[in-house]
Amino acid sequence: MSKKLTAIPELCSGCSICELVCAIKHFGVNNPKKSAIRVLITYPHPVMRMPIVCSQCKVAPCVKICPTDALRWNDGVVQLDEEKCTSCYKCVEACPFGAIYAHEDCDLPIKCDMCGGDPECVKKCPKGALRLIPVAALGEFKRLNNILSYTQMKEIEFYEKGEKKIIHYADIGKEEL
């Protein structure tokens, strides 16, 4: 699988629908605390809504630390072998993003399995804040944003076939850069 599940925090509204559909799909229960994705909200410093979900790291700290070899990176997904897992939760603590979860009712850690390549959370996010992005395209969004914030953008309104349009351009000469 050459696609990554990516969160765009600027678009997230914090509605938690991703949590609900994840728990319903994997456990069949209505409980956002049994999901492999959680929206973390900070306010007011900084104002942030950030869905936190496994990045399926290729060189994964959870895989490294697992004492029973229950976690393996395979075709773009870090998979949990339920037979081998002893539920020691070392992986939960080792993940640098806190993207593996534990729940007192569940025997095993709760970890994103990418729903076999078609994640439920991506399909149901009403804001398009969760996306499946080809690995090669990762960072495109950020690159573009970076350019836009780096230059002093100006805009011109004009009419094309009677329709109002706006064109943005960088007016580098006049501002102090």
Partner: protein, 609 residues
């Protein structure tokens, strides 16, 4: 057929005087009859009133405060984050409730309770911490005077976790300002009827919840299918995107165009500089993010930041229409940054933006007309649009300094002290009126007059339909619409869901009988649910009647009869007193109440057990 799921069937009762917490079983009959939310609240408040022989001081330890989500709260369906706070209101002395969105109610349900009730008074400023099955009362006097936002941070630090939800009061609640609110998730407020003052009177700074339990749902696949249908309808609606972008702020333009926007304490109903404070202005210069209630695709809440000028750095969740209208045009303010600043101040103090805007507006007009003297105002002049003086006055109300001490007791006390202000403050039953001008819409007047909590639009909101299509409405239709709204809108509060998908995007109310069926396993038609909601309306009326309400209280503010809006499409229009009285009689008749607005003697029996 009876309820098979959807409830934990548990009622958590906390007595702050005794320092005790007890989980009681909820009988099936109670659950089926009152559904949840304000239904549970009204019944528990009624029982408490009977226990005290209808002699309950709203700010006394005996007043029972109920926190009640509904059976659909936290369930996967469009906007299920609602939670009601119910008690005898310190603003009106009558039945009061206020609901919030966000996630507090969801987390409360996940601790395994359907309803929480609180009575008594803690010896010192305290918090209640409900951590799944365990409930503790923790003394935290160090929170005294802390703003809602600051207190939320301190509590999380003290408990060592950010994964909790908190309902907290600020200085206004502690000082028992009679329109203090309860703040959750930093910026969502149970604003009306002064619930925050009740928490203050109980020395209760905050309710903290952390729950991990499954929310019981009878038929998950059925629910998911119904939700997908509803979400699909919403997402394909032509206003869905606009709704996500602007939320309720789009109402400013609409209200101004139709002439129902309060300006200068309702002297006018249009605002010349509306383009400075509308949704487009917010989008272009202030909005930095969306915010949604639990499980809601519509995300109507905005997060705004002031990026330059003297209010630079102000972050606020909001404003929505009411806050913006009452703190903006109603006070003559045309600077969006100043509105954000006032909104933020209200959030920090934990004070209702509607009542605050209403009372400050009345003070400005009172001073303008010479009813209030400069010495009444502690020597500080105040005029329309004077941002600094207005922000200063808000602060004095929250801290009960000078004139603020009188204003903090709300419209009633203001009228007691300065009887001439009766012609200036817009209130019904002691609750300050919200931001829809009823003068062009007599059905909206009826809605305000007969709302069980006072002049608020939550029970019925008929103004848009009357203005747009109802000019030819017969009295019959007006009354029927008000009564239908008073059944349906509170039903959403009982179920624990938001009514905006229905109001704003026209999601059919029929979905909710299916949601109810899939969650509880009990078949009930919408009509049956509406009847249950109607019974609760009878119950809240009964509470009010037993506390002294009758026809004389189902009235409207003086301005509505006597002072027409000066300009705009509704210039010159007022509600005729006689027309209104006729409409009110018809309303009583259709409700089965007598000419004085009293429900028949037999009704009381319905609520005995």
């Amino acid at each position: 057929m009876s309820v098979k799921s959807g409830y934990f069937k548990k009622h958590l009762h906390v007595d702050l005087t005794k320092g005790s917490a007890e989980r009681r079983d909820l009988p099936d009959t109670f659950i089926e009859k009152y559904i949840g939310g304000r239904g549970f609240g009204a019944k528990l408040v009624w029982d408490n009133l009977r226990k005290h022989d209808f002699n309950v001081d709203p700010l006394g330890p005996e007043n029972l405060m109920v926190v009640a989500p509904g059976p659909l709260t936290g369930v996967y369906l469009p906007s299920s984050g609602k939670n009601s706070f119910v008690a005898i209101s310190p603003a009106t002395g009558l039945y009061g409730d206020s609901s919030i969105g966000g996630s507090f109610g969801v987390e409360l349900r996940q601790t395994g309770v359907d309803v929480l009730s609180i009575t008594g008074r803690a010896p010192e400023l305290s918090i209640i911490f409900i951590d799944n099955n365990k409930t503790t009362i923790i003394l935290m006097p160090e929170l005294k005077g802390k703003s809602c936002l600051e207190a939320e941070g301190i509590i999380k630090e003290r408990l060592g976790t950010h994964a909790v939800h908190i309902a907290v009061i600020g200085a206004a609640g502690e000082n028992m300002v009679r329109f203090a609110c309860v703040n959750t998730d930093w910026g969502r407020n149970a604003g009306r009827t002064g619930i925050g003052a009740i928490m203050g009177s109980k020395n209760l700074k905050a309710i903290v919840v952390r729950g991990h339990k499954d929310i019981p749902v009878y038929d998950v696949p059925g629910l998911v299918a119904e939700t997908e249908k509803a979400c699909k309808y919403l997402e394909e609606h032509k206003y869905f995107n606009m709704w996500q972008r602007e939320g309720l702020m789009n109402v400013i333009e609409y209200a101004n165009e139709k002439g129902i926007l309060p300006a200068y304490n309702f002297k006018d109903s249009v605002f010349a500089r509306h383009d400075q404070i509308n949704g487009a202005m917010m989008l272009d210069h202030y909005k930095i993010g969306d915010s949604a209630c639990f499980s809601c695709p519509m995300c109507c809440s905005n997060i705004c930041l002031v990026k330059m000028g003297k209010y630079s750095g102000t972050v606020v969740e909001g404003p929505e229409y009411e806050s913006c209208a009452m703190l903006g045009p109603n006070l003559g303010i045309d600077n969006f940054a100043a509105i954000l600043s006032a909104n933020r101040l209200c959030d920090e103090f934990g004070m209702d933006t509607i009542s605050t805007g209403n009372i400050v507006g009345a003070v400005i007009e009172g001073y303008e007309r010479g009813i209030l003297s400069l010495s009444d105002l502690d020597g500080r002049e105040i005029t329309w649009g004077d941002e600094e003086a207005i922000l200063d006055l808000i602060q004095r109300i929250a801290n009960r300094q000078g004139i603020g001490d009188v204003l903090a007791d709300g419209a009633r006390r203001i009228i007691d002290k300065w009887p001439e202000m009766d012609k200036i403050v817009l209130q019904v039953k002691g609750l300050e009126q919200s931001a829809y001008d009823s003068r062009p819409s007599i059905s909206m007047g009826l809605a305000y007059a007969t709302s069980d909590i006072g002049a608020h639009h939550t029970r019925a909101w008929t103004i848009a339909r009357e203005i747009e299509e109802g000019q030819g409405w017969s009295d019959d239709e007006k009354v029927n619409t008000v009564i239908y709204h008073q059944k349906l809108r509170p039903l959403f509060d009982m179920l624990g869901v938001c009514r905006l998908p229905w109001i704003e995007l026209g999601l059919s109310e029929r979905h909710y009988e299916n949601f109810y069926k899939y969650v509880t396993g009990k078949e009930a038609s919408l009509e049956q649910l509406l009847e249950l909601s109607n019974d609760v309306y009878d119950l809240t009326r009964l509470i009010n009647v037993r506390l002294g309400v009758s026809r004389k209280d189902d009235s409207l503010p003086y301005k509505v009869w006597a002072n027409p809006p000066l300009t705009g499409p509704n210039a010159g229009r007022v509600i005729d007193k006689e027309d209104f009285q006729n409409l009110l009689s018809l309303y009583y008749q259709k409700r089965g109440w007598d000419e004085d607005g009293i429900p028949p003697a037999g009704v009381e029996k319905k609520f005995e057990d």
